[in-house]
């Protein structure tokens, strides 16, 4: 059985990434919003992997370097994201500790794992099951922004806790690295092309059943 669904790409049509208008890809640019037209995002897997590699490279320093430095009556304490979370946990603020754990540690890691899995599926290294992977992709895009929370907390504390000799707070290098992780994983998720999953699935379904019935084509 041949596919009962027609793909826009098979007709040389491209749905615009920005406005959704379906136009012949030969136009080059969308006649409605002037975005570039592609059947599939160009070099999507390579781009996703490159951005992800950069995110992984920054993930390590983002958790090893301090996100802020507090000077309290002359005493200097530096704290990383994990140390901040542990402090919350020890003082009994469990929900906050959990929020930080999920937003700062779990989400970036899960995003990197999910995107690697998606890339492996889109290149045919793992069986592409688009419905399940689709949900994963949607979740990856949805949750990404929440990791910025720690950066905003640093900004807020730096702004408010300027109490002269009593207490001052400065942002640490870890914060910049972590902001880089968030932005890079968001860009990586945007770069990924979910339609490739369906393309692989169609290829896999097309080869075995058509051979006995239709050996020539």
């Amino acid at each position: 059985m041949s596919a009962p669904f027609t793909k826009a790409a098979d007709r040389g049509l491209a749905g615009c990434h920005t406005c959704g208008r379906v136009s012949p890809v030969t136009l080059g640019r969308c006649p409605r919003c002037h975005s570039k037209l592609h059947l599939r995002k160009p070099a999507s897997i390579e781009g996703t992997i490159a951005l992800m590699a950069a995110a992984i490279a920054l993930y390590i320093p983002s958790h090893l370097l301090p996100v802020m430095t507090a000077t309290e009556i002359g005493a200097v304490t530096q704290s990383t994201i994990v140390e901040g979370m542990i402090t919350f946990w020890q003082t009994g603020a469990y929900p906050i500790a959990l929020v930080i754990f999920v937003a700062s540690i779990l989400i970036p890691l899960l995003k990197i794992i999910a995107l690697s899995w998606l890339c492996a599926a889109a290149t045919g290294h793992v069986h592409p099951s688009p419905t399940a992977l689709g949900r994963i992709y949607l979740l990856t895009e949805l949750l990404g922004r929440w990791s910025m929370i720690d950066i905003f907390v640093v900004g807020i504390l730096v702004s408010v806790l300027q109490l002269g000799n009593y207490m001052t707070i400065k942002p640490g290098p870890g914060a910049l690295a972590f902001a880089g992780v968030v932005v890079l994983t968001m860009l990586a998720a945007m770069r990924f092309e979910p339609r490739l999953l369906w393309d692989r699935l169609d290829e896999m379904n097309a080869t075995p059943p058509t051979q006995p019935t239709d050996p020539e084509s």
Binding site: T6, R145, V154, V160
Partner: protein, 210 residues
């Protein structure tokens, strides 16, 4: 109302952004959504009173945004000093304390993108209610949707709550008008963006300009 006016030609078809399945445009009732026949991803939705809702919510978001910039988010009394937190304060403190990129990202994600979204939505949707396209409406709409994923109003709000709990240990802290105004911005932006389907807005723009 079955559906909004569609421009002629290939725009009468839609391709699923998720699996690329080609569909002929089927009008749907108000409040209903069309889903991809193959993968079930939403194709387009026919929102009731879409242009009015998008304009109203985005105008409300702009007004609340102005309030959020004028009034403090947090007020803190500690060591005989009173400190107030504002959006600009958080951004400029980061810039002054040697983290200019972080300060810029606060400006971008909590000030510029929400402003771009709300102002753009208002600028584009209000004239469309009268069947007119504002000058530069297509460019505005394009930038609006490009900036959408970078809007982090709700993330900043959660950040304020976390900070408040952190500060409560060392000082007397209270939420200010700015916080509640910004929470209103979050709700109104959600209402504005969800108020009109992307496909509908672009179709109406194309029809109005032709």
């Amino acid at each position: 109302m079955l559906a909004w006016p569609k421009p002629p030609g290939t725009a009468r078809r839609s391709a699923c952004h998720f699996c690329d399945t080609l569909h002929e445009f089927e009008p749907v009732d108000e409040g209903m959504a069309a889903r991809c026949a193959r993968c079930g991803a939403p194709l387009y939705q026919n929102r009731p009173a879409s242009l009015a809702r998008a304009s109203a919510f985005s105008l409300a978001a702009l007004v609340l945004m102005a309030l959020a910039h004028v009034f403090p988010f947090l007020t803190m009394d500690a060591a005989g000093m009173r400190r107030e937190l504002t959006l600009f304060g958080a951004a400029s403190a980061l810039m002054d304390e040697g983290a200019p990129l972080l300060g810029a990202s606060v400006v971008l994600f909590t000030m510029l993108t929400p402003l771009m979204l709300a102002a753009g939505m208002f600028y584009v949707c209000t004239p469309l209610m009268f069947g007119r396209a504002a000058p530069g409406a297509r460019t505005t709409t394009r930038w609006m949707y490009l900036s959408e994923p970078w809007n982090m109003v709700e993330v900043f709000l959660l950040g304020v709550i976390v900070s408040l709990l952190k500060l409560a240990k060392v000082a007397d802290v209270q939420f200010g008008i700015g916080f509640w105004a910004f929470a209103g911005v979050m709700l109104c932006m959600a209402g504005a963006v969800a108020g009109i389907d992307r496909e509908e807005l672009w179709d109406r723009l194309e029809v109005a300009e032709s």
